[in-house]
Amino acid sequence: MSVVESPELDALRAGDEAAFLALVRRHQTAMVRVAQIYVSRKDIAEEVVQEAWLGVLRGLDRFEGRSSFKTWLLRIVTNLAKTRAVREGRTIPFSALRSPESVPEPAVEPERFRRPDDPRWPGHWASKPSEWPEQRLLGDETLQRIQAAIEALPDNQRAVITLRDVEGWSAEEVCNALELSETNQRVLLHRARSKVRGALERYFDE
């Protein structure tokens, strides 16, 4: 990872402004989403990210590429966001981030399935998903609905789906950056994706 990014970091060290802005743009969404886990409000998260970039510049000469650049970046954001959250008097949602499975959240409403005491097909679809209209999948409004569904997610689920599915990070990278176990990362991703699918289903059924 650090091998891929190092030409860019060298450019940064050489004072290349365009390289710096490109780097900021590339990581902005991920950083804001991660900060939001701790501070929730988007405007505060953006402030934290600004602060983090200053920390990045200060620390750049000490960055030796032992962790990936992304991991390092996200660690700086996370630490600043935690500090800020404490200052804002917010309780850091450790339990929500660490053990999401403690609160069950079905991927699909239980009413969509036959009851557990159904004589023939317990737990099978009572109302199957209907087919999605191919020609509407790529419409602008579809993307707007997806965006809205992601915004409406709990902060930790929003962070995970953004990093995995918008930014294309690997599960391992997300686990490292958010200090999540593999299982919890998957639970959060599953819930987030299931809700976005549900939002799309409601939209296409309108």
């Binding site: 200053l54 991927a107 737990g123 679809w125 993307l143 930014e167």
Partner: protein
Amino acid sequence: MNDATVEALSCQELVELVTAYLEGALPAPDRARFDEHLASCTGCHRYVEQMRTTIRLVGRLTPSDLSPDAERDLLAAFRSWRR
């Protein structure tokens, strides 16, 4: 014909395993039960396809952009850092 020693998955159970399935995180016996269910259930087949479509569509979202103010402040910080 059927291997009756393993209990079949219900649809309600299957929808909770989709992410583990797509991530390749299901143990082999569970994966086999999943595949077996998918092969004969149009509802679940469609459901899994919709999850794949959802992932693909989420990937089309463009990351949010920097505000001009943020960009100006960062550039200023970058310039003073170089000195």
